[in-house]
Amino acid sequence: MQRQRIKNILPLLALLLLSACTPQVRDAQQKDTLPQIYPDYTDIIVPCNIAPLNFMFTDENVDAVSLILTSENDNYTLTKRGKKLVIPLKDWKNWTEKHKGKTSEVQTFARINGTWIKYKSFTWDIVTDEIDAYITYRLIEPGFEVWNALQIEERCIENFDSKILADNSLMQTRCMNCHIHGGDKGQYSFFYLRGEGGGTILNRGKDLRKVALKNDQMSGSTVYGDFHSSGKYGVYSTNFIMPAFHSMESKRLEVYDSNSDLCIADFDNNKMILSPLTADSTKFETFPTFSADGKKIYFCSSEISHPLPAKVDELHYSLCSISFDEEKGEWGTQVDTLYNARINGGSANFPKASPDGKYLLFTLSDYGTFPIWHKEADLYLLNLQTGEVHNLTETNSNKSDTYHSWSRNSRWFAFASKRGDGQYGRVYFAYLDKEGNSHKAFVLPQKDPEKDFLNLKSYNIPDLSATSMPYDAKVIEKINRERQAEKFY
């Protein structure tokens, strides 16, 4: 009998103990400012399939925190010891599923020196437009031109799952870069394994291939590239890259090309297709990308200035286009200029066509072809129907914003920005509404919001995909070890 009583009391005691450990918001003092939190998730638009927006208070005196989400007549409360508000995945998914298409008001509280502070609330607009569920990026220290430990990681944006697609510690610490997706669901992909015995790993949904995208007429190895919508072709630039150092504080590194041309790879026939129009020795051509329908190639082009690197600030890249005949596998015969850098100023880099064919998203910096360390580098949108160009001021920051990638529905894009600490690139997402207006960007949510503070890696060239890749680091290591790269002619 007595034992039975104890059994009944135990859960009650556990509950009491638990509630005693969880702080409770009492007599909160209203403050008319937004909370100092990292990441800055105040007043943002988020896709309904995003992972929990965990955040932390940055004031070191905070020792307990609380959050109340309100939407219509529903609310959700979370209170924690410490500085971090980590929302359980299940609770978050319930909330976003219930309230998608609506605005959630976020009320936050923090306890500082025993007093609870109630901050000005902010909003999360949970839109029904989903973002592609996966993003890949290269994890690399911002060590300028040298690497040691590199990984290409795929992260699920809907939760916190991740897998390593390639790890150079398994492959003689060789360089790996530019993991790019293609196809209507991002099911195709390629990336480079550099160095002797390396090649391009090509994934077109069947067997993975290791290919050498080079023939005798080409001046160098392929660097920047993109898939044709059919998956049959890839377009690439060949760049001889030179790093140079600025002496002024904060500018750090400038990377410029001493030579760059374009080429197309025919993956079915192992053939490289060149054109004198895009391999002009008087010009640098780089950052090629296909249009959504695959009938055009957009790229950046600049007159060559001498001598380099002294006159690197005279390199101004314009946005150009040239047609492409998919049936014949031929370049067009005329180059058109979409954004003339000599007339309009700046230097255009990294164009990416939206999957709906309406826009071209590109980076504009003062000069050159390496916007990563250019604080002024901002994202711009070219309306392909009207030719209008506008600065995405709502999305941009006073640090480098570049290396963007579209979600398949053209409503979202991801990009790398150094706005967090000026040094380490992080993945940001921004919403583009039906009118073509972009909105405030927010950083990739992490299970522990402190991760970005303690992580010494940059997230390099983030690329969105609706599909998880069918390989991992062990598969890639095996392919690298066992296969010779297929030759292209």
């Binding site: 070191e60 220290e141 911002p142 140079a244 750090r252 000026g422 503070f453 303690l454």
Partner: protein
Amino acid sequence: MKKLAGNIPFILAILISLACFCFFFFYYPYHLFYKEQISLFLLSDQTFFLYFPKAGWLSQLTGDFLTQYFYYIGAGPAILTALLLLLGVLCYKCVEKLLQRFRWKKAVAFIIAALVSGLEFWLQCSSTYPLSSTISVLGVFLVVYIVLNFRKLNIWTTLSGVLLLGIGIWMFCPFSTFQGEKEGVNLRLEKFFALDTETNFGHWQKVEMLSEEDLGNYVNSYYHNLSLAMQGKLADGLLDYYQAGEKSLLLPVAQTETHFSIFAANEVWFQMGDMTMAEHAAILGMIFSPNHSSFRAIKRLAEINLIQGEEKAAAKYLHMLSKSSCYKTWAREHTPGKQTEKVKQFIDQKKSLLAKTDTLRLAGQNRMSLVNLLKSNPNNQLARDYLLCLDLLNKNLNLFAADYMEFANGIFKPIYAQALLIIQSVHPELLQGCKMPMQEKTLKDFQEYMNLYTQNQGRSSAVKNKFSRTYWYYYHYAKTEN
């Protein structure tokens, strides 16, 4: 008497431990400090999540946790001695238990324990052999000791033993934690670590003294030159010592170099005020270090970003250091808004050295970097000394003439005067407008040197005795890579 004999192993263990402590404390302290410098252990949830998935997590966690305390004088030798003693005791107990019916069990157990501890002692003398490896071995003996102490052998104790061994491997996994160099005692490296450590603390006289022994090594020369330069006497002592050309002054940051020398290269740029080059070397040194992260590099990166006015980047590094046991005070004192007067002065002094105009240079274009620093701040004595000495060591007298007249015209230093006399005798037109400060003795010596050189048809032995420390001798006979 019998009691004393029974205590012999105990007494010997204490004596050996004492010797071990003294060895690391008096004779070999810099290796342990260096291990702390290339580690990074932060007290945060993130840290624990990083350790847990790994096999051998407990030994790695404990090892890295304890290594951070190597920062304090005496803590490294004390921790290591305690662990080696514990390892010896556990090993002794295990062997004694296994040989319980053997007559000489205590002696055999003692010898085996001493060998195991001795081996770990030897390995711990290596530059990058981690403490976690010793803890792994210790963990294995702990598990074995527990299993050996099961009183009865039945199905339950057998299962418990197997389970315990499994848990032991998961927590201590010795096979995965045997990492790092295993070269044993290396006094040459100990000296480099000493130079690095004393440089870190700005003990320039000690660096000068430590690097005086001529190792014929450019890293040693680099520290020697830096210590002289920081005391304002680089040009005075440059040729009293082994020089390997440009890299004795400015260490190359290249893949052919070690992570130690790559990181060390940051120091001179930091002192001169070229924060881009300092950051470049510091980051690359960190990337190539065994753990790809280090307290020392994070601290330096915080300083660099504070000087550059990049407060957000500095805040990231300071936040990391605030999560450590030994650097949280340093981090607080350097946090903008909470900086002490001393820190503010240090940052302001370094800020005054920053370049004011932008120049683009390729890696290794050191001269361009120095000229740019001097054009922004002609009073940057360190940059001036390095520029002129760089020209001299590269035997580029045309550039020396131009740089001397632009940045040091009228300043007398014996080797500058010696170089000017060579230029005057060969290309006097390069010295138009040069103030040519000269001492009577220098002129006489030059005359004597030239006479001897000519009379002996350029044989080095004729001039070596008296003039081996002059620029004339260096110019004629030193081999340079450039």
